[in-house]
Structure formats: C-alpha cells, structure tokens
Amino acid sequence: MNFVIVLVALLGSVWLLAVVEGWTTTGRLRPAAPLLSGLAHLGRESIVPRTPDRVFFETAPVLLLIVAVLGAAVLPLAPTLVIADLATGALFINAALAYVLVALIMAGWGPNGAYAMIGGWRFLGQLIAYAMLIVMPITAVAMRAESLVTTVIVGSQDGLWNIVYQPLGFVLFFIAAMALAFRAPFDLPTAPGELGGGVDAEYTGVRLGVLRLARLTLVITLASATTVFYLGGWHGPLLPPWAWSLIKTLAVAVSMLLAGRYLPRIREADLMRWCWTLGIPLALLNIIVVGLLVLVVP
C-alpha cells in the first residue's frame, strides 16, 4: 500500500514540477502540458542510431528511472509512510544514487556518438567533484540522529531542523544534489550549448520520454532527500505530515529548477576545483562542528 501511495506522490510531484518548468520557460501555466508532452513522445519515432551498443542504449533511460524510484523508496513522507524503512536508509540512498553515473555513462556510450560520449564521461568527472559532498553532509546528519534510519533522522529534527542545526551541511548537500541531478548550472553531461544535448542527444520518441521522466523523478528524489535530511521531513504545524513532506519537497525541487535559469553553466574545472579545495574542507568542518554540538549540547 505504501508503495502505491509513495509512487503516486512521486508521479504527482513530477507532474507538478513539469508544470512549473513549463511555466518558467513559456510563461504559461498549462496543467495538461506534461501529459500531452508525454503522449507526443509516444507519437514520435524512436530512432536507434547506427551501430549502437544496443544494451546500453536501451537500458540507460530505464535504469535512471529505476535509480530515482529506488532512492525515493527509503525516504519517508510521514512517520509510517515509507516503502522500506531500512536500518541503513541513509546509506542505501547513496548506493542507489551511485547508479546515476552508471546510467549516464551507458547513455553516453550506447548511441555511438561523440556528443553523447563526451557527455557521459563528463558526468564521471562531475561525480569525482560532487560525490564527497553528498556523503559527508549525510554523515553529519546521521551523527546528530545517531542513526542511519531515515525516519529516525526526521525524528531527530523535531523542534530544530538540520538546516538551522547544520546550515553548512545543507548548502553543500543542496549544491551536490543539483550536480547529481545534472540540472543547470551543473548540466555538463547534457549541455545543449556545448554538446547539443550530450547524453540526451541521440534519444527520440518513447526513449526520450522515459529519459525526461527519469530526470524529473531524480530531481524529486533528491529534493525529497534534502527535505528528509535537512528540512525536518514531515514536521510542520496544522497540515498532515505527508502534506508537509510534499510541500517541502516541491519547494526544494522548484528552487533547484529556478537556480539553473538564472545562472550560466559552471565550468568543469571550476566545479572540480571548488568542490575539492573548498567543499571538502567545509564538509569536514561541518562534521567537526556537528560532532562538537552533539557532544557538548545535551
């Protein structure tokens, strides 16, 4: 039952996000647009490029979608509303999201095209930049909760959300999550102006539809993770818990979407340099500060 509810919530959020995305790009609020766009993808030819690596080409969009859903499986909407309340939830989400890289490299390699391939490899470089900034802030979150269970992590934020308790961790995680979702300004693997779509470049029709759905789902999953780890999950007055989870998730997702609109794409070298020379020391500092707080503050 939980499975169905979470899945519906996920789809609903993706739909809302797509509506907002359409609104920011075209200036018109059209609730039916995402559905129509999905139907239109069904109607278009789904071309297989010449001499592809068929397995990679076909698997990549589906894998990306599965990864995003798997990640969402351990994120609670309400105290009991979670598909799998794993003892290692915070670790599991890392493990699931590691496959985003695999999916993108497959999508890059599969179609046998230069733009796609460069896009795929670029994401590998990007991983080296953001990966530590996903793991290290989560470490600090788990330290405060003294647990890797996601529901316990939300519980630990009762009264004081992590965004206040460890703002540094929030900022780092938020940025790294955007890089992981390869949204602008971190859209190096797709980079329309540089790679003509990159890993997206050779997909058409249904496959492109799945890929786009997967990308939006990934954004929702990461926004939901941000909510669970930093924004107090379901905590909030008046409204039922699930509603707070959804509202916060959507707010984070929309802010990820909007940030990209007002920023130019980051330089690959800058991303790497800043993440390593600035991000990792800050993440360590965050861990130390949180550690001290956990020890000192009763």
Binding site: L36, L39, S46, E202, R261, P264, R265
Partner: protein, 647 residues
C-alpha cells in the same frame, strides 16, 4: 503559400493499425507540442524580428528533439546539404516550414511556406497544428533520400595509393586485396603522414603494424560486403556530421520498407554508413546494429570520418580495437590500449576524434561550422569555416543595378543588414560623386547605432544559449525584438531595462569565472576590429568582450538620445553616375570596407572586406589546448557572423 488539401504532412509517420484510437490522441498531443529546429539559427530568426516562442513553438537544441524544421531565408548550397542531414535525423512525424526562401533542393517540398514575418510564422503554426492533428500518420509515408546521404565507395590498394577502382578486387601491382573507402576521402597514407607530423610519439613500426592489421580487417570486410550487399553495393551512407553526429539515417527514411517491426516499430538506423565501422556493407542487414561489438574492426583506414567513437583520423585510437588488437583474451588494459597514443596537454593518452560543431548548433551562430579535434574533453586543434559566407564576385561584364546591389548585400547579411545597406549606399553615392548630406548622415548613424544595440543583444542571447543561461537568452531576445520594433522615443524608454540588464550580468554568480581568462588572443594579434579589438586593450578575454559590448550598448543609447530619430539608409538619387567609390562602416562586429566601380548607375565590380573574415582565422589559436566548454566560449566571444565571412 502551399496548403495540402489532404492535410498530410510530407514527413508523416507510418500508421499502425493496432493503435488507431490512440493515434488520434497522440496526433492532438503532437499538434500541441511543436518543437522546432531553426535553420540557420535562432539568432537569424531574432534579427528578422521573429518571435518563435510567442508564435507557439518551442525552440530545440537538436534535430532529434524537433518536429518542425523551420528554415528562414535563402540557404547556401553547403547549407542545403547540411539541412538534408538534419532533416534525416528528425524523428517522424516531422514537417518543414519555409519562411522567405526557396525550399532547399535537397529536401522535400516545404509543408508550409510564407514570407519572413511574424504573421507568416503564426499562420505556419496554425497550419501545423491542424495538419499534425489530422495528418501526422499516413498509410504510405514518403521516403526521404538525398544524394548527400550517400557516398560512393571506391577500392584502393593499401600499398599503391594510385590504384583506385570502383569494384573490389586485387591490386594489379602487388596482388593485395583492395581496401574500401569513401570516394573523395584522403588516402590513409596521407593521414598517417599527418599523424606522424603532429604527434611525435608515433612509431613507425606501429604504423606498419596497423597497416597490416587494417589489411586483414578489410579482407574480412570484403567478405561481409559480398554476403550482405544485396542493395547497393557502391552506394553507402556517407557520414556527414553536419550538425550532428550520426547524421544520417537513411534508416528511417527507407524506414518503412525495411522496418522489421522489432517489437514497437522502432525505426532502426541501418548500420550502413559508418564507413570504417567495418560493416558498412551490411547496410540493410537486419541486425546490423547487433554487430556493435565487432564493428569497429576495420575503422582504421578511413581517414576522416571520425564519427562517434570511431575516431578514424587518428587511426590508432583505441578503445575500439583495443579489444581486438591487444587483449584478445578477456579484459582490455587501458595501459596497453593507450600506450602508443599521442599524449595531450594534460599528459593523458586518449582517443582523438574530430567532431563537427555546426553549422546548426545551439552554442554557435548558424552557418558556422567548427571542426574540433578532441581528445577526451580537450581540444587539440580546431578550425572554423563559414558555410554561408558571401563570395567577392567581380566578374567582368556582370553588372548589377545599384538598388539591387544594395538589397542583395543587405539580405546577404541577416545579422547586420542595416550596416551593410548603409555601406552599400555610401559607396555607391561616393562613386556617383554625391556630397554628404548631414541630415541624412545623422539619421543613418542613428539607425546604425540601433542596429548595434540589437546586434549586441543578439550576441547576448546567443551567449545565453551557449552557457545554458536561460534568463539571459529570454531577456536579451525580448529586448532585441523590442528594439527592432521601437521608434526613437520608445527606444529611449528601454534605456532603464538595458542598464538593468548590464547591472544584472555584473551581479550574476559564475558568469565571471566562466568568461574570465577565456579566449585571450596572443599579444600583437593583427587584423582585429570592432568590440574584439576594443576589448583587447582591456584584458582581451571573453569577460572583457562582454563588458565592451554592454558598454557599447549604453554608448549607442546615449548617442541616440543626443541625436534623434533613426532613418533607414535609402539610396539617394544617383542618376546614371559613374566612378569608383569606397566606404567604411563600423558594423556591430567591426569595420567593413566596400569599394566598387559604378558605371552608368550599375555596379560593375566590387570588393568587400569585413571584420569577421579576419576574426574567423583566430579560432584555431583560441581553441587549441582548451577544454571543450572554454573553446566554445572563446569562439562565441568573437561574435562571428558567418554571413560576413567573405571568401
């Protein structure tokens, strides 16, 4: 205006019986989701005052994502070929809309044609919506095929390059089996020479080794050729690369004939074409794509079609034949595979591949083709060419009326038509011996400054597209359209908006780090003019060029404020004057110079020199050794207008 009574678009998709009900809905969805690829590019649409988004179409970055091919204006011969390749890449159902020009000969007739105007565009969208709702699917969709999608294969002896014949066989001199290659492609030997020169790390033995290997592989290929070659043994797809990688997919164009309806009626790109990919001969084989893993076997030979991973040009390139050549048993060792490859700037040995960017590429102005040799994400060398540039024709005895000449020059430069109109007027009037008239000069100067503002805004929009900075693209494009439509007074009302834009860009995070230090020209680079030259006094990088252009926008505004209303340059009465005239105009991109000979009111010969013709030569220096993203930013910061590249 064409209107098809049956409302079936030429690029309709094969109807599938099973889904008749669904197709009705899908058709409606398609009609509501028009996405267009603009040829030559969105900047040309803007400079014509077309607002494609407002008309109801989404502008896409790639042909794969487009359902409408929107062609604006007349295209050159080379562009026609590129457009055919792009069209072939678009998934069906697809339509062609043509505004203000002839449909390229390489394409089927346009589904809708109109003049270059917003009204024409809106009509086109209306028509497309109706046509797609009714005729997106057809029982008998038309094939699309164009000569550019094919190449002739010829057979050459690996040891005796002078032995070339149209059929496979053996060399009369040494008896070796001949090797297939695309006609018109440089011989492999030449390439090796080139490689050798460029990358000292190559050892001679290695090359020999490679030759031997190629030979073997080709033998293998021949067999394939004979087996599968039931269609057209000498006609193969020809990797064209314009704009996109695997350009050409006859595949779906022969599509329905060969569709073996694998499950969902996918269009399969027939495996032909990839030249070196060993299996070109299996072009119509049913499982050509299945050969995936083995395909690359023969790639070594094929000089310059480095599509995809096949990096032909730098034949030794490895991941593909790595598996075959080296680690025959099991895992391929990257050390083994890359040990003989040239080292790039960062010390890593990688495959080199030559990748085309353009002539229709979201990050570059339409008509500009940038060919970069990439090793990984780094550019080792690059070169830009214009596919739409004007040609200085001064043939004897070919006279053009003065008015016609002006129109022709103005329409040949869609990104700066006012400047070139002015240039032609000035040169002709001087040739005819007319004195300057200060009132006219002033109005013309204001018109020129208006165009400068619009042009710089167009560049900002283009930069926004390149950098994925959607806000900048939208904002600059909106302002550009407003300025084009505005009179002098309304123009001044836009002043705060333009100041705000500049201020906003100054505050935008990441922008400075993206542009600073990129695209610096070696000191003492000659032949610069326009904003590029003026920014060279400053830091001379992309960031300085951005601010130079923003400053010029403000300066031009001040000038307009102080001077008055713009007046489009119109030729004054020159009678049947004769003489020689020369004029120089500071166009938005730099100085343009025109000298011409006028005889009895007819332009007898002319010579045009523009800033872009010189600037395009700087590209090679700017991109070398840069990361791909930086290289593109550097090229973009020059604000090249391929139209203004004179050959």
């Amino acid at each position: 205006m064409t209107s098809d009574p049956t409302m079936t678009i030429t690029g309709a998709r094969q109807r599938q019986e099973r889904f008749t009900v669904l197709q009705k809905w899908v058709s409606r969805a398609l009609a509501g989701n028009l996405s267009c690829l603009i040829v030559p590019g969105p900047e040309v649409a803007l400079s014509h005052g077309l607002d494609v988004t407002a008309a109801g179409m989404r502008i896409t970055a790639t042909p794969r994502d487009a359902s409408v091919l929107l062609i604006i204006g007349e295209l050159s011969e080379k562009m026609n070929e590129a457009v055919a390749v792009l069209y072939a890449q678009m998934p069906r159902p697809r339509a062609i809309v043509n505004l203000g020009g002839q449909t390229p000969s390489t394409l089927p007739d346009a589904d809708f044609s109109a003049g270059v105007s917003q009204a024409g565009l809106i009509d086109a969208v209306d028509w497309l919506k109706r046509a797609l709702a009714k005729g997106a699917f057809s029982d008998s969709p038309e094939d699309f095929d164009a000569p550019v999608l094919h190449a002739r294969i010829e057979y050459v002896c690996p040891m005796h390059p002078e032995v070339v014949q149209n059929e496979p066989g053996s060399c009369p001199k040494c008896g070796m089996d001949l090797v297939a290659r695309e006609a018109g492609e440089p011989a492999p030997e030449h390439d090796h020479g080139h490689d050798h020169r460029e990358h000292r790390h190559h050892e001679h033995e290695h090359q020999h080794h490679d030759h031997a290997q190629q030979h073997e592989h080709h033998e293998h290929e021949h067999h394939h050729g004979h087996c599968h070659d039931h269609h057209d043994s000498h006609e193969h797809d020809h990797e064209q690369h314009e704009g996109h990688q695997h350009s050409h997919e006859n595949h779906h164009d022969h599509g329905h004939k060969h569709q073996h309806g694998e499950s969902d009626g996918d269009a399969e790109e027939k495996g032909s074409g990839h030249d070196h990919s060993g299996h070109h001969h299996s072009g119509h084989g049913h499982d050509s794509h299945e050969h995936g893993g083995h395909d690359h076997v023969g790639h070594g030979h094929s000089g310059h079609d480095h599509s995809g991973h096949d990096h032909g040009g730098h034949d030794h390139g490895g991941h593909d034949h790595g598996g075959h050549d080296h680690g025959a048993s099991g895992f391929m060792s990257m050390i083994e595979v890359t040990k003989d490859l040239p080292r790039s700037a960062d010390g890593l040995a990688m495959d080199w591949m030559e990748v085309p960017f353009g002539p229709v590429f979201p990050g570059l102005p339409g008509g500009l083709k940038l060919t970069l040799t990439l090793d990984g994400d780094g550019v080792t060398e690059g070169q830009a060419t214009s596919l739409v540039g004007m040609i200085n024709e001064s043939e004897e005895g070919k006279e053009i009326g003065a008015e016609t000449f002006i129109e022709r020059l103005a329409s040949a430069m869609p990104l700066a038509s006012v400047s070139y109109r002015l240039l032609a007027c000035l040169a002709i009037e001087r040739a005819a011996g007319l004195e300057n008239d200060s009132a006219t000069d002033q109005a013309r100067a204001v018109a020129l400054e208006c165009e400068r503002i619009a042009s710089h805004l167009g560049w900002l929009a283009q930069t926004g597209r390149q950098l994925g900075f959607a806000w900048l693209t939208d904002r600059a494009a909106t302002l550009q359209l407003e300025i084009r439509r505005a009179s002098g007074k309304r123009l001044l009302e836009l002043t705060p908006a333009l100041h705000a834009l500049a201020a906003r860009l100054g505050r935008t995070p990441l922008l400075k780090s993206r542009l600073k230090g990129i695209g610096i020209l070696p000191s003492g680079t000659g032949g610069l003019s326009g904003p590029v030259a003026r920014a060279a006094d400053d830091a001379g990088d992309a960031w300085a060029r951005l601010w130079q252009r923003l400053d010029e926008i403000i300066t031009s505004l001040d000038y307009i404020k102080a001077t008055g209303e713009p007046g489009l340059p119109v030729l004054r009465n020159i009678g049947r004057g004769s003489g020689t005239g020369e004029a120089t105009v500071e166009t938005p991109r730099g100085e343009a110079q025109l000298s011409l000979i006028l005889e009895h009111g007819q332009v007898k010969s002319y010579r045009l020199d523009t800033a872009c013709s010189h600037h395009i030569g700087l590209v090679a220096k700017l991109v070398e050794g840069r990361e791909l993203g930086d290289a593109l930013v550097a090229v973009g910061s020059l604000d090249l207008s391929p139209w203004e590249v004179i050959s």
